[in-house]
Amino acid sequence: MSYISAGFLFTIALGALVYYLFPKKHRWLVLLLISLLYYTSYGFSNLVYVLFTCITSYIISLKMSEMEDKVHRKRLLSVVLVLNFGLLFLLKYCNFMIGNLNSLSEVFGRNLNIAKLTIKFPLGISFYTFQTMSYCIDVYRKKTEPERNIFKLLLFVCYLPQMLQGPIGRYERLGLALSEGSDFDYRNIERGAVRIFYGLAKKLILADRAFIFANNIFYTPDKYSGVYIIAGILMYSIYVYCDFAGGMDLVIGASEVFGITMDENFRQPYFSKNLGDFWRRWHITLGQWMKDYIFYPFSLSKACQKLSRRAKKRFGRVYGTLIPICLSNILIFFIVGVWHGASWKYIIYGLYNGLIIAMANILKPTFEKTVKLLRIKSNSAPYRVFQIVRTFILVNIGWFFDACSSASGAFKAMGQTFKNFSLKVVTDGSLLKVGLGVREIKILFVGVLVLFVIGVLREKGIDIREWIMKQPLPLKWAIYIILFFIVAPFGFVSASTEFVYAQF
């Protein structure tokens, strides 16, 4: 059952009713029950993997907490990491490796022809594996106490709203909030419901509509060139943001109904000043995970420190310090790429981001000097707009790897952008023949404009939801009713109800 299904909305509504009818100390049990019921609606086999992750993490985190010796704790941590990431690797990347091995063997004239695995990929495994491993690492670091009730840990692993597409929560916040339960406060329900319908609006009005255009272009990129490709990638950027961020609104809103606040995953990413800033605003919880569990341990490792000392001697203090940071960034984005999928296009996508951020770090002193030399006010509005547009272009170049079916297809589509470039197609109506008519484009345009205004207000610290909630009752109700009823007819009607990130 997708997040836009009646089943999901009913589960949340009925679940909340039962949740608040139970005594506070037993409310977590209601959440566990509905989470398990919901997850098994996708098939019982999914549950086996969730239980594996939960049981191994439970046993090993308890054992780790009993040990004082860091070496023993480290060994146990390695076991749980290998087991869980190993399982993730086996399910998600094994066929990719087999495919590459087979291709490589053909190049060397020996056809290995290794058979691919035919295991059904469990839903949301990338999300809950990362989330649960962060718990194990935190227990190892003695940052958090281990959970002694396995069922409470199971709830943390498979909490209904977030299990399919994140956000990747932390035990110290999400786990404890789930165990403790929350008091009934109707404002939570109001806030949550508004957020859910904001998410539905993003998904149905914008994402599903933009997808039609982008998919038509990138399904057969050979057919299109020039402005078509640019329009296609812009539509893709609307699609991928509204689909993922809309899904997050649904998830976070659903959780708010239960009085559980989840970590935010987006903060107006298309207003970023540079690519590093973009990744602090896009899929925030994944970025934070990478920072806490890979970036710092790697850049502060003995090997990196040694490298840094050598680099300082050779290239000076500034660059010497930057080299381990750059290497860590490249490593992180390589992993982010691999996390996105078992395909070369994602690896290149990750490395593209990592290399640009590394280059930006290295060239930062030069940029600063140039800005000073040209007497540009770095905090002026035009310069900020320039930075936002520059970053948006860089982000969109990256989207080619996501939008096309292969890395070679992405490079080809990028090349096509510069062929037959004519602005005539904008005015002669040719763009209206790519799947969306005038009405659809108008709805999309108005929708993006509304999203932009809300984004600008948020950047200024104005939360429109809180503003609506403070209005007199009749006005507030009128706004809610309009919001609820406007999404349905203006939402795009398509057969697919899935979210792009639910497949990870």
């Binding site: 009646a6 009913f10 609606s41 009823f485 007819p489 009607v493 398509s494």
Partner: protein
């Protein structure tokens, strides 16, 4: 005293909140129902379910639009010597057919089921949005509807359940007319005159729609057969339907109504593969399958002019001619008389060869 007063205030405010939330929900439901009433157009399916409820049928034909335009139940029923109801509806998937049969069994003593399978419905189940499902939308409130809802709608777009009018919102221009129609006695008595039909169509009753020859030829053709896209769920419901029939001692036969031979010729490999797939399934389930695309031309002489589109929906006059043959051979199959086989080509290839030879 002080704390009990505070508790009372807390209880009062809780009560107020619950009343407020309930009032808001009630308001939303009322608005939704008003929109449904004013926008959702009355359809034929509602009338067909009403006819079915009258409980006078002992044979039911299930299937999709090819059946509704191609089979006159009166003629088929004469051949079968049964009171026959044609419950074929455009957009009727296997799951819809299964629940239609469940509903039919509540009111009728059915002893024969003819299940017309259009292969397109096996391969495009996941490509169609629930909002377009007129079978579910017209399905009368009943115990079966609960199961039907859970299996068919619960996991789909919430608008299919909560905001049914979404699919009709562009009918706001006819809101006045729709409301007047729904308040009329014709609507209440299930008179087909309230249904907005194509000017070339006439509803003849018992599920048969007659399209006259003035309708311009529609270029829409069939979807291609793709076995990898066959929905497991749909196959599951064919099996469920057969086992329900066997459990109740009902005779069942699978058919496929004749389509435009030019389209069969054009998509010969797809039709051949689909025929092989359905034949194999029928064999597994021990059910006779009559593919009328393979009926000999000397039995049923047909060409593109008998069909109003390339997909192969029949004009009314062709349908009446065809229904008689259809009833005759379905009856033979149901009676276990295998001589019907001589009226059919061995395979789609032979039919195409004969068509090209004509």
């Amino acid at each position: 005293m002080h704390s009990s007063k505070r508790g009372l205030i807390k209880d009062m405010s809780k009560k107020k909140i619950i009343i407020r939330m309930s009032a808001f929900l009630a308001l939303m439901i009322i608005i939704d129902q008003i929109c449904n009433f004013a926008l959702v157009q009355p359809g034929l399916s509602r009338i067909m379910f009403h006819e079915l409820k009258q409980g006078q049928y002992n044979c039911i034909i299930l299937g999709a639009s090819h059946g509704s335009y191609g089979l006159d139940p009166e003629i088929v029923g004469t051949e079968l010597k049964k009171n026959t109801m044609n419950m074929c509806m455009g957009g009727e998937y296997m799951i819809d057919a299964y629940y239609t049969l469940e509903y039919a069994l509540d009111y009728n003593k059915i002893d024969e089921v003819v299940f017309d399978i259009d292969y397109q419905y096996l391969v495009n189940y996941n490509d169609v949005n629930i909002l377009h499902n007129n079978v579910y939308n017209a399905y009368p409130a009943s115990v079966h509807k609960v199961g039907y809802y859970v299996k068919r709608v619960l996991g789909e777009d919430y608008r299919g359940t909560m905001l049914r009018w979404t699919n009709y919102w562009q009918c706001y221009k006819y809101m006045g007319r729709t409301i007047r129609k729904k308040l009329s006695s014709e609507y209440k008595t299930y008179n087909p005159s309230v249904v907005n039909m194509n000017q070339y169509d006439s509803y003849m009753g018992e599920g048969f729609t007659f399209r006259n020859q003035h309708h311009k030829k529609d270029p829409a053709s069939c979807l291609d057969w793709n076995e990898s896209k066959v929905s497991e769920q749909e196959i599951g419901y064919i099996k469920k339907l057969v086992s329900l029939c066997k459990k109740k001692g009902i005779k069942i036969v699978f058919t496929t109504v004749s389509q435009d031979p030019a389209t069969v010729d054009e998509k010969e490999s797809g039709f051949t593969a689909a025929d092989a797939y359905i034949s194999k399934l029928a064999q597994e389930l021990d059910v006779t399958y009559l593919n009328f695309n393979k009926i000999r031309f000397d039995e049923y002489d047909r060409d593109s002019d008998d069909f109003y589109d390339r997909e192969g929906h029949m004009y009314g006059e062709s349908a009446e001619k065809f229904s008689q043959l259809y009833g005759k051979y379905v009856n033979m199959a149901l009676m276990g008389d295998e001589t019907y086989k001589s009226a059919f080509y061995a395979n789609i290839g032979d039919m195409v060869k004969a068509y090209k030879g004509n």
